[in-house]
Amino acid sequence: MTTTLPNPTDTLPSRTGERVIQFREALREAMSHEMREDERIFLIGEEVAQYNGAYKISEGMLAEFGEKRIIDSPISENGFAGMAIGAAMYGLRPIVEFMSWSFSLVAADQILNNAPKMLYMSGGQWGCPIVFRGNDGAGGQLGSTHSWCVEALFSNVPGLKMAIPSNPYDAKGLLATAIRDPDPVFFLESERMLGDKAHVPEEQYAIPFGLAHRVREGDACTLISFGRPVHFCMEAAEELAQEGIDVDLLDMRTIRPLDIDSVIESIQKTGRIVIVDQSWPFAGIASEVIAQVCERCFDWLDHPPVRVNTEDVPTPYSKVLEQAYLPNADKIVKAVRAAVGEG
């Protein structure tokens, strides 16, 4: 049984190569590989089986694993999330797919009150080894109810872990870790990235949580993000490089644990930080990072920390308004310029 958790010192396979697959396929590979190794793992969610996945993430899995392990649930998030929590307490390893994290709000009692607190409430008797995963964030003109970024809201709760991959390679490695981890993991994907293609090694590998990935090296300004906005940061970094501003870009990969050590190390080199966070600004992930930075390396800062969040309004439908609402390369470029005193 592959339940071995990865170590930070593990050697991971190369990120570069010729085996180009989609983000959704990377997720599927992680799940399928773990399911072949461990029969306790099952997948439950809306349309995951016969429909082959609302977003084709679980395509073909019903054929391989059968209906006892790839389970179509009716539309009742509170019911099936709670059911999976019971199964996890009993000793199984459920993967729960939320078609969208927006829909997880109706299961809030189960996923926030039960999964992350069971170990504490039972005095260490029962943990909850479960993965909740699905699409997070706006970008498809779905309006405010379907465009939730739950990272700030949910990562506030102790007892859970949260991973937010930005690319296919990390998606596969982080999901394998999420499935093996004995604690509840909230795994946030993005509908807008499921078709993204990149090299993904065929072999199964697991990326340790709490380790940021340095996307780009520079000494002018630390730029950190996670999930989809990492791509906006990469775009901004290109533009900034042409102006002679080389950013040190970190993809956090997991929010809880948060690799604050790498952030501080980078600030000790740059003296500046810009955080790009697709959740709302009030009590968001960016505010948390800024608080920790100020607590731990205030003296290293040459400029107040700068954050780029989504705008502080419900998600609009209009394409124009939605574009204005989300973080983008332009906003990030401006923020970095301000942080380095060129704004």
């Binding site: 929590i85 009692d109 948060l258």
Partner: protein, 379 residues
């Protein structure tokens, strides 16, 4: 043994399954009923002395429900319940010391003082809590039952090794939980997937201060709700433990064999208020007295003493004395147990895999050993 099978209350026990059980078993039931009753009396006293905090819901009057249903299943069948849970914990076999210590918030409590009255968990006895949010335990109980089915059907062995066998999960709820969406989603899933969960509504007629008819449609015919989800239904009176067993045992046996869901409307009554802070203005004293005339403790003792004549007055008095001493000892144990040390216990039992940087407040730690499982940091 007496030849007559009719109790003073006029009950015909000639077909009773419970009556066919051994004296030893029924005397153990008698002791269990006395224990739960005495435990709750001491709980109320300790609460009034402010030794127990938070919300506290006692079980007086409902004892036959937990005992009769739990004695109808196997020791390794999973059981899960709501917040009026002391009776279930004791019926499942939790030592009253650890149950009382939990309410006192001590490290020797079943949940190390982290759960309190509403969160009694006992892994060795397969009690999956004590849950505080009304009906939140119903999807979880459905999942426990789902996992037992997955165990024999997919794994073909026990999840922790050994042989897999057909199980049922007893999932208790109060009548107030009938109106929560969680239950209806759970029942739909259970009916849809043929999950061997048995929802047991301990129907004491009131959700806090609201009489059932004021909050629940079709309260006079709950079978219609079960039928809507294709779930087997049974209703019976829950004031007499032998009646409970007689009705419950065959129901459990069939659902275990056929691996289907069940729904039990167990009519009962709580003598005390909803919680310790309930002035009970919504009901009259006469109503309470009506039920107390059919008291579960008295009912079984009368049968054993006067009908079956397997228990003598002296034996019964000795049993009562022994139970009183045991509960007194449990209170003493709870009082004398150490308070948890915040430096060691505040940050323990949050994560199993305690990685770096999970909190800005510092590292999480492994907790002291749990008194029931022995798992945790060794001294």
């Amino acid at each position: 043994m007496a030849t007559t099978t009719t109790t003073r209350a006029g009950k015909n026990r000639s077909k009773s399954l419970a009556a066919k059980l051994s004296d030893e078993t029924l005397h153990a039931w008698m002791r269990d009923l006395l224990l739960i009753r005495e435990f709750e009396l001491r709980t109320m006293a300790a609460y009034q002395q402010a030794k127990i905090g938070g919300f506290c819901h006692v079980y007086n009057g409902q004892e036959a429900c937990a005992l009769g249903t739990i004695r109808s299943v196997n020791d390794d069948d999973p059981v899960i319940t709501a917040y009026r849970d002391h009776g279930h914990a004791l019926a499942r076999g939790m030592d009253p010391k650890f149950c009382m210590a939990e309410m006192f918030g001590k490290t020797t409590g079943c949940a190390k003082g982290k759960g309190g009255s509403m969160h009694m968990f006992d892994k060795p006895n397969h009690l999956y809590g004590g849950h505080g949010i009304v009906s939140a335990q119903t999807p979880v109980g459905t999942g426990l039952a789902f996992a037992t089915r997955y165990e024999w059907e997919v794994l073909k062995k026990g999840v922790e090794g050994g042989k897999a066998s057909k199980k049922v999960c007893l999932c208790y709820l109060g009548d107030g939980a009938l109106n929560q969406g969680a239950l209806h989603e759970a029942m739909n899933l259970a009916g849809l997937f043929d999950i061997p969960v048995i929802y047991i509504v301990e129907n004491n007629g009131y959700s806090m201060g609201t009489e059932i008819g004021r909050g629940t449609t079709m309260a006079h015919d709950l079978g219609r709700k079960a039928a809507a989800y294709g779930i087997e239904y049974l209703e019976f009176d829950g004031m007499d433990v032998m009646d409970v067993y007689d009705n419950m045992k065959p129901f459990v046996d069939v659902l275990r064999e056929e691996q289907r869901a069940g729904f039990v409307n167990l009519k009962t009554y709580r003598y005390q208020g909803h919680s310790m802070s309930d002035p009970q203005k919504y009901r009259g004293k006469d109503e309470v007295l009506t039920y107390q005339e059919r008291d579960p403790v008295v009912s079984l003792s009368e049968y054993l003493l006067h009908e079956r004549e397997s228990l003598t007055d002296e034996d019964y008095k000795a049993m009562q004395k022994e139970v009183k001493a045991q509960v007194k000892e449990a209170v003493k144990f709870a009082e004398q147990s150490p308070e948890p040390d915040p430096a060691e216990e505040l940050y323990s039992d949050v994560y199993v895999n305690r990685e770096k940087n999970l909190s800005t407040m510092g590292e999480y730690v492994q907790g002291a050993a749990n008194v029931l499982t022995g798992e945790g940091r060794k001294k």
